[in-house]
């Protein structure tokens, strides 16, 4: 891991993300933003196919997504990895107790660029935490992998399993 990776690779355009989510049938995006994810909000807010649900902390996002799913909607949780750390109990309950096949996109802070936070411990803990919570995920490091995201989430949807995509981000 170096601090010299370029920081633009994780930056999908909001329209690409909105289009991807809509094509997967996602009805609601439940989210707390970071500086990468936040750039997608405009496209999601303008969408007539996907509704943005703002929550105050990431644990809530899993609870709201659980309720949406139980109510017949198709939600997706959109948070940063720091929010993943704080939302463990809610994730455990939704995915493992109730076995709800929820989708999530999780931003991997500092993966591409550590200038702002040298030695960011997100790089130490993000993947082991996902493994610890037994969340199968696809790691995306470049916008050219949009089709991989689609394929992964489609496969998970068709299998009735949770679908998580980890997206490398640049500066925190």
């Amino acid at each position: 891991m170096t601090a010299s990776r370029t920081d633009h690779l994780g930056n999908f355009a909001g329209a690409e993300i909105e289009s991807l989510l809509a094509s997967l049938g996602v009805t609601h995006v439940v989210s707390v933003p970071d500086s990468t994810i936040g750039e997608w909000y405009g496209a999601i807010e303008r969408s007539e196919r996907v509704e943005l649900v703002r929550v105050c902390r990431e644990g809530e996002a899993w609870g709201v997504a659980a309720g949406l799913y139980l109510g017949g909607a198709t939600p997706l949780v959109l948070i940063q990895c720091t929010g993943l750390f704080e939302s463990g109990d809610a994730l455990r309950n939704a995915l493992h107790d109730w076995k709800l096949p929820l989708f999530a996109i999780i931003g991997y802070r500092s993966y591409l660029n550590q200038e702002t936070l040298p030695g960011d411990t997100c790089l130490v803990f993000t993947e082991p935490i996902l493994d610890a919570w037994r969340v199968g995920y696809r790691f995306i490091t470049a916008p050219s992998q949009l089709d991989e995201m689609r394929a992964h989430l489609t496969k998970c949807r068709d299998a009735g399993e949770p679908g998580v995509v980890l997206i490398a981000e640049g500066k925190a």
């Binding site: 929550v55 644990g59 809530e60 609870g63 309720g67 909607a73 809610a90 309950n93």
Partner: protein
């Protein structure tokens, strides 16, 4: 003055509509299971800390044609106070949050919560109803006796929401926590089939 949780829940059981979704957790879940939930109810056991209100918000957004009622405890509410803000941000008109406030973590041995007078240096309890009002709940109520609650409940549930109701309930030390009524995943499937089919 305060009321028994069981009596408060009995009043709700009588006043709810057949097609309401009622979500209960912790002590309220225990009492609701004794009263007999409908297929459209979600006994949120096992739960995650403080998430009943968040699950209720999701259900209210997904099922806007139904009234969603969630009964939460004050300890659980304190673990997820931000959900009050998230609820009013989304503003589902048919969501009712009922807070059964007994001032303690009853199922762990009745230790005072940090919101209760006994758990605070100041000796004054936090005002959940004022908090809900400040968050922007459309309709906010507080009831200290079973008679008041029972008299008002139908009108309260019919208000334009989101609605917040604080009930002052007595703690019953030694009361056990709720026992899961069965495998959660199977209950989730049955719940989903029920609300889609009715």
């Amino acid at each position: 003055m305060s009321m028994q949780l069981r009596g408060a829940m009995r009043a709700l059981h009588s006043a709810r509509r057949d097609d309401d979704i009622v979500i209960t957790t912790m002590g309220a879940a225990r009492e609701w299971m004794m009263l007999g939930p409908r297929d459209t109810d979600l006994v949120f056991v096992p739960s995650s800390m403080g998430q009943a209100t968040s699950v209720a918000l999701g259900l209210a957004l997904a099922q806007p044609q139904r009234r969603v009622i969630v009964v939460n405890g004050d300890g659980s509410m304190l673990m997820n106070l931000g959900s009050l803000v998230s609820i009013t941000a989304a503003a589902p008109a048919d969501l009712v949050v009922i807070l059964a406030d007994n001032g303690v973590y009853e199922v762990t041995g009745s230790q005072p919560t940090p919101g209760a007078a006994a758990g605070r240096v100041s000796g004054t309890s936090v005002d959940f109803a004022a908090m809900a009002k400040a968050c922007g709940f459309q309709s906010v109520y507080q009831f200290a006796t079973s008679a008041e609650w029972t008299r008002a409940i139908k009108g309260v549930l019919s208000e334009t929401g989101p609605t917040f109701v604080a009930l002052d309930v007595v703690s019953v030390p030694g009361t056990p926590g709720p026992r899961s009524p069965g495998p959660a995943a199977a209950r989730a499937k049955a719940f989903m089939a029920s609300i889609r089919g009715t």
